[in-house]
């Protein structure tokens, strides 16, 4: 029987930091990364020399971006591992660090995601040597636009109902100084924007930009070594990862994969979907949020749109969904995204989310899907 994270020694998030997500600029990636790294170390009050290992997540930058960046914190000789897992790169790096600390190979591990949209290349699926029909014509936004069309048909909700996801997430992002999109938009503005594919307009799709996110992960021994206690620590009670199988409806793989992965994480943590206070979801396209909330059991099938309209997923509602603004509002610099979710959940569970604070947040999962298709889910809980 494989061990789960929760059955090993406890692992905590003890420090978080971000560089704002923003459109591509002249800022070197090293500067983006160091800004998030220093914020996370300061927040943790852990000196860099105490860090045993580092995981660096990126998907668009070239190979081995870690040392040219991290050497400026002091070249301590710590092991550095780079992780690429498409949109879930940051989530995968975070999982590696958690596992390393949980099994006591390290006491303090550092996770950083940094990326710039400089090298957007072709998808691996196009290089397999297996030609598909019109695969040059079906890019991710069309994949999700087709899912939105089927979702509206299946649940009877309107495209306006689906677009409301962007309304909420842009509103949340307008309260987040690290978000790429910082303007709340009315439903009319969202629906009236430039058409992309199907019913999607630009504001219903995530902007891919640049940025950085960092977290410090530690054991109690690590904290003790740094002279610290558990006062501001948030425990990671579950980590689950899965990849796509063959499903009855293969086009709905994102949803089926999410269901399997998040359900596994919630089971590990011993919490129910109904008991979640706050959740950061992969919402690269509006319809995803509704599908995933139903898939993981936060609500019943076909109910997400109605609950969203009633405010159930607002900050202060039944369960705050993507209070950071999500991928649609906060942005999606790829490498940092999954780590940025951990930053937001940690702030929420510490009660340090300021104007975005969801009252009495105690249990918060983070969920990411990556092209390919891989899925990660972590559960964070306040002590």
């Amino acid at each position: 029987m494989p061990v789960t994270l929760g059955s090993l020694r406890p692992v905590y998030v003890v420090g978080v930091g971000l560089h704002p997500y923003q459109p591509l600029s002249e800022t070197p990636y090293v500067q983006l990364g160091l800004s998030a790294a220093r914020d996370a170390l300061t927040d943790a009050r852990v000196p860099w020399e105490f860090v045993d290992s580092a995981y660096v997540a990126k998907a668009l930058l070239p190979m081995a971006v870690g040392r040219p960046m991290l050497r400026h914190l002091g070249a301590t000789g710590l092991p550095i591992t780079h992780v690429e897992n498409a949109s879930a790169s940051g989530s995968a790096a975070f999982r590696q660090a958690c596992m390393e600390v949980a099994c006591a190979m390290s006491d303090i591990s550092f996770v950083i995601g940094v990326d710039k949209p400089t090298a957007l290349g072709s998808r691996a699926e196009m290089l397999t040597g297996i030609p598909n029909l019109a695969d040059d014509a079906i890019v991710p936004f069309t994949h999700f636009a087709l899912l939105a069309d089927a979702y509206a048909q299946r649940t009877g909700c309107s495209f306006e109902d689906i677009a409301r996801v962007a309304g909420k997430n842009l509103r949340n992002a307008s309260l987040n100084p690290f978000a790429q999109r910082r303007q709340a938009k009315t439903l009319d503005e969202i629906l009236g924007g430039k058409k992309v594919s199907g019913q999607f307009t630009t504001l219903q799709c995530t902007p891919v930009g640049e940025g950085a996110a960092a977290v410090v992960v530690a054991s109690e021994e690590g904290l003790r070594r740094a002279g610290l206690g558990l006062e501001r620590a948030v425990r990671i009670t579950a980590s689950a990862a899965r990849s796509q199988r063959v499903y009855t409806d293969p086009t709905r793989y994102d949803e089926m994969l999410t269901k399997e992965t998040v359900e596994a994480a919630l089971a590990q943590a011993g919490v129910s979907a109904g008991g979640l206070d706050v959740i950061e979801l992969h919402d690269a396209f509006t319809v995803e949020e509704l599908e995933y909330l139903e898939a993981i059991g936060v609500c019943g099938h076909g109910q997400a749109a109605g609950l969203l309209k009633e405010g159930a997923f607002d900050i202060g509602g039944r369960c705050a969904v993507s209070p950071s603004g999500g991928l649609i509002g906060m942005g999606h610099p790829i490498g940092p995204t999954g780590i940025g979710q951990i930053v937001e959940i940690t702030r929420q569970l510490r009660g340090e989310a300021g104007v975005r604070q969801h009252p009495d947040a105690q249990i918060g999962p983070a969920h990411m899907v990556g092209l390919g298709a891989v899925c990660f889910a972590h559960v964070l809980q306040s002590l």
Binding site: T128, I130, P131, N132, L133, A134, D136, A137, I138, V139, T142, A145, L146, L147, A148, D149, A150, Q153, K194, K195, V196, S197, G198, Q199, V246, D249, P250, T251
Partner: protein, 121 residues
Amino acid sequence: MRGMRCDACGYVFFPPQNLGCEQCGTTGSALRPCQLVGSGTLMARVTVHLHAKPERPAPFVIGTVRLDDGPVVRMLLDAPPDTLPPIGSPMVAVLSPVASEEGSRVHDLRFSLAQPAPLQE
């Protein structure tokens, strides 16, 4: 339309490949080409308004079709961008002539409504 069938587990798939069955991992002669009937049911459809590749000028229509043989495929639909066929419509594969870069006529596999909808008065 040519698909493939795995004799080990019965999985029928498209597009054809002999790299290994996605359901059970079997390779070799157990993966056999098979003919798929070029008919199915429309599950979803969208008009693509923005597309970066100049060789595919937008708008064009993409559909998800569940073939009567089982596999679900996505491809271009022969449908006007402003009047999409309803979800649930019966569809058939057609060879549609498209102009190639050299100006010669080539054919592209697409899906089209099985029976044209009756004209509304």
